[in-house]
Structures are given as structure tokens and as C-alpha cells.
Assembly symmetry: none
Homo-oligomer: 132 residues x 4
């Protein structure tokens, strides 16, 4: 198992911060490692306090299932095959903003972003993933 | 109360692992006893980390109510008679993959499987139950 | 980071079970991976229910700090440098019975054993580590 | 209330990382804001997984009571006036390594460091505070 380095994690956070500033949004940005454990975090000045936990849960959710957090949310709706999966693992966040981090086809961690609309959250997370 | 033995639980896990390998899936497999307490567990290499907890919750859910986890999920939808029962008991998982383990008409525990689609999860769990 | 395989984890559990049977004790045995996540578990028939959680917490504690759980307990006593560290990480167990699992000088996970005196718990855990 | 900025928090983390590297230790470094909420975090490669939570709890403990975490630990011993205060607030860590962050006589947040002996943890945290 290849694990993300702190240098890689800080590069991801910096790229996400740059994207958030460009977009004029205030974000919480979390990076977890291959084991789902917190590696780096940054909260922009004035960003929502409630998003500290959500950003981390998005990142963990993406790593826990090796897919975007929003992909799980599509299956966890009423009538869906994973209804209420969110109560597991101490709380999952299954709307967009969590994306696995890959290098050379291997998942080495994940990023989670929260602070604005889920579209903006995901765009900032995506910018983070592209920095690797 | 007849309770599952470790030998039985390991037989169930081994049968589920064999089925998972045959199906080419990566699973987390949990067996709980008649009291709903963890008896045996195995996570295949590369299986989802988020499924560690879900496999255990599926097994407990099946034993807590002596029916398949998915049967509860049919009643816990919006408007259903058990809406949001998932928040009880420290978190239930009510989609398929949890099945009671019976011997001689008596429930002695349950198996919970998580790691792929709910259809595959249930098929692997079913293979586990058939080993008894 | 090298991670423990399921085959390795099951070998460790089997060796610990053999040692427990030889010693005439009833044990809960947990193995966590390099990320501190549950990999394999077995509870012997009649073993303490309260030790299900303790065995897992001992294993996590050993991996969380890359040392035996009991080594932390020596520092967490009243007046010690790590007094009450046990309230962190959702609960640590700092008496003996948790030991890191090493291969080639690298820690790939940990074993935690609970069910008897801490001396016996540790002896069974040690037998597990020696199987690698 | 004057609150720490992300730029200040990142400066504190960078100074602590530099001190940790100089000292040859592997640390988890957390900075919380004036409200006690996580602002920035970094885990060095190979640093203890169990210290992710402890670093954050040290920082919060220092801000919650506007004093070093270790100062509370002196009062929380058996027979002391704050015996077992550690069980409050979802878990406090009251040994050294958490220090308030002050600017112009006003506390704007706190740093928490964990990963080595409490003496080294505190030395790295102190280096972080001196960067402001």
C-alpha cells in the first residue's frame, strides 16, 4: 500500500486553497491518508465552523469506499440500495466534495472540501486532486 | 439459548471468503453470536475500509430482529412503519447483506457482508449461511 | 507502508488461539492493519464479552503508538507523563496484551488479546506475533 | 474577539514542523482558533496515528482554559482539585504539548503537538508559538 506523504498532502491543500480563492469561496479542506486517518487540514478565515467535521467526513467517505462521496449519495436516497448508509462509520457524508487521491493508478488517500454549494465544494476538491 | 461456536463461525467466514473469491469481489465478513456480539471477522486484502463497520452492523441488525437486514430496510423508508430505525442501537444497516444463522430452526447468530453491490454482498452472506 | 495481508492476520490469530488453548484460557483476539483498522477477529467459546472491545482497543493502541499497550500504561499512571491518555482516540487500553506486528523491521499492524490476566493476555499476544 | 488567521496558523505549523525536523522527531501538529475549532493540521510521515487525536485535544485543552495543557494535568491528579477533568469536553489531554497562542496579550487560538516524549512535544509546540 502506497501512502500519501505530508508534502503531497500539503500540495493538495495548497492547490485547493488557490482554487477556492479564485472562486471567491471560503472552504474547509481535509486530506486523509491511505488508512483514512487525517494527514493535513486548513480552514480559510470566515469559513463555516460546521464544515470542519464535514470536510473530514467527506474525505474519509471517499477513501472508505474508493469513490467520490457523491457517488454514494446517489445510492443512499430513499428507495436506493444504500439507504441511510450515513449512520455507519461514526457518520458518513455522501454528497459531493470528497474525492480519492490517486497516483499511478493507486489510491493513496482522499480530499474532502466543505464550505459552499456542493458544486463548488467538488470543484475545489477536484483542483486539489489535480495537483498530484 | 444455543449459541454459535467459534468453529462454526470460522466455517461460515471461510465459506463466505471462498464465495467472494469465486465471484471476484473484495469483502468484509463479520459473524455475531446469539447475543449480537462479534464472534469472528475477516477483511480481504484491498476491501473497502468503510465496510468494516457496515459488515458488523449488518450482522447485528439481522440478529437484533431475527430477519435479513434488507427486510428491515423495506420498512424504514420515508412513510414506512419503521422510518429511520437506522439511528437506533448505535447505527443499524438495513440494506441487504445481513442474514441470521440458523441451526435446527434456532437462530444462533448472524453474518454480515459488505464490500460490493448489495446483491453481491447478500450472495456472499448467503454462501456463509449455507456452510452450517 | 507495508500492510498486513489477511493470510498473515489469520496465521497470527491461529497461533494465538493455539497458545490460548494450550494455556487453558478463553480469549478474544483482534488483529488490526497498518492503518489501525480491523483485519481479523476471533472470540473463543465462553470468552468474556467485555473483552471484544478491549482486544480491539489494545491492538489499536499498540499500532497507534508503535509499542506494546502496556508500555503506555506505565506512563499513564497518576503522576506519570501521560496521565489519562486513555480518554483519547475513542478510548485506549494501556495495560498489557497489545503488541505491534513486525516483518522485516517494519510495523504492518498489531495484535490485541483480552480474556484473562494481563500476563496471560500478553503471552497469547506474543505467541501471535511469533507466527509471522 | 481577535481570531487567528489561516496565514498565522500555517506559519505556526511550519515553525513547529521545522523544529521537529531539527530535533529528529515525528510529530502531529494541530492549531485551533479562538473558538477552539480546528484551523490547521499536519502529520509528519511516520508519525504516530494515535497522536492525531491527542494533538487536537491538547490544542483544545489549552484554549478551553487559556493555559498550557500540562498546567491542568498538575491539578487533575488523584486528590487534586480537578481530578479526572479529562473525561469532560469529549476528552481532554492534560499533559504537556498544548500551548495558547497569543498576539498583543490576547489569546487567538492554541497549538497542540504530539508524537514523542512530552518534553519534546512541548518544545515543538513552543517553537510554534514563537513564530507569531
Amino acid at each position: 500500500m502506497t501512502d500519501i506523504t505530508l508534502t503531497q498532502a500539503q500540495t493538495v491543500v495548497a492547490a485547493a486553497l488557490a482554487k477556492a480563492e479564485e472562486a471567491g469561496t471560503l472552504m474547509n479542506i481535509a486530506v486523509v491518508d491511505a488508512g483514512g486517518n487525517l494527514k493535513a487540514f486548513a480552514r480559510m478565515d470566515g469559513a463555516w465552523l460546521g464544515s470542519i467535521d464535514i470536510a473530514q467526513k467527506k474525505a474519509r467517505t471517499a477513501r472508505f469506499f474508493n469513490m467520490e462521496s457523491g457517488a454514494i449519495g446517489e445510492l443512499s436516497q430513499p428507495g436506493g440500495s444504500l439507504f441511510n448508509i450515513e449512520v455507519s462509520n461514526g457518520g458518513l457524508i455522501t454528497f459531493p466534495g470528497g474525492i480519492p487521491l490517486e497516483v499511478g493508478g493507486e489510491i493513496i488517500g482522499a480530499i474532502g472540501v466543505s464550505g459552499d454549494t456542493v458544486e463548488n465544494d467538488r470543484a475545489v476538491a477536484l483542483a486539489g486532486t489535480e495537483a498530484l
